[in-house]
């Protein structure tokens, strides 16, 4: 693409990634969550693909696949964390440790340190969606053409 698109893409890329991280981090307090934040972050890959061509994202294929696998494994492990009661039992909620503060009842400004395993699962699913969507987009960019049989 032209130099205007490339310059704007260079400026916007960190902003998009930071906004995706914000949506994932505040998934248990504001609208959003792991899926939405991962999709926002994956749109940065689409911008990269459009602005700089498929050659610029060729090296990202293997990291995205590994990221997706790690996200899935982390999600299942967090589910197994509460196996003493049931699968997917929220062991950390209200325990006082990491993300363990009790949420105030009723409308409140929101405390970030609440939620138990929910914010951790948000991060796991966010990385999983980022990896999966990014891998799909990179694959379409690399092999989606017709003349490279």
């Amino acid at each position: 693409m032209s130099v205007v698109v490339k310059t704007i893409a260079r400026i916007l890329l960190p902003v998009i990634l930071v906004f995706g991280g914000y949506v994932i981090l505040h998934g248990h307090l504001t609208p959003g969550g792991g899926f939405q934040g991962g999709a926002v972050a994956a749109s940065a890959v689409a911008l990269l693909l459009v602005a700089f061509g498929p050659g610029s994202v060729k090296k990202l294929k293997a990291p995205f696949s590994i990221l997706e696998d790690l996200g899935g494994v982390a999600f299942v492990l967090l589910g197994f964390l509460g196996i003493g009661t049931t699968f997917f039992f929220n062991l950390l909620a209200g325990s006082g440790g990491l993300f363990g503060a009790a949420a105030p009842i009723g409308p409140n400004p929101g405390v970030l340190n609440t939620g138990g395993t929910v914010p951790l699962m948000n991060w796991a699913v966010g990385f999983k969606v980022l990896g999966g969507l990014g891998a799909v987009m990179v694959l379409f960019g690399l092999f989606g053409g017709d003349d490279d049989r």
Binding site: G27, H28, L29, T30, P31, G33, G34, S65, E68, G72, F75, V76, G79, F87, F88, N90, A93, G94, G100, A101, A102, A103, P104, I105, G106, N108, G110, T114, G115, G116, T117, V118, M121, N122, V125, K128, V129, G132, A135, V136, L139, F140, F143, G144, D148, R149
Partner: protein
Amino acid sequence: MRRWAVVAAFLIVAGGLLLGGARMRPFGAPRYDLMDRYFNARSQAEVATNNVVTAIVFDYRGYDTLGEATVLFTAVVGVALILRRLKR
């Protein structure tokens, strides 16, 4: 001939769907909401999240999310298998 049969079937389905939509219960007055009122009232005390939707997705109905993650993984693997470059 076959095309007109398809059009007739489409019209029958269209009539059924539109009639069903028009004869639904009034918009904004759900009939059965016992479970949802429980979630709205108790999610802050049980899961300690302000966002009730996230509490349902990751805590009350975690199995659904697990299956959805599996579907996403399967789709990525399928795309990678279909679109790979065959060495010849």
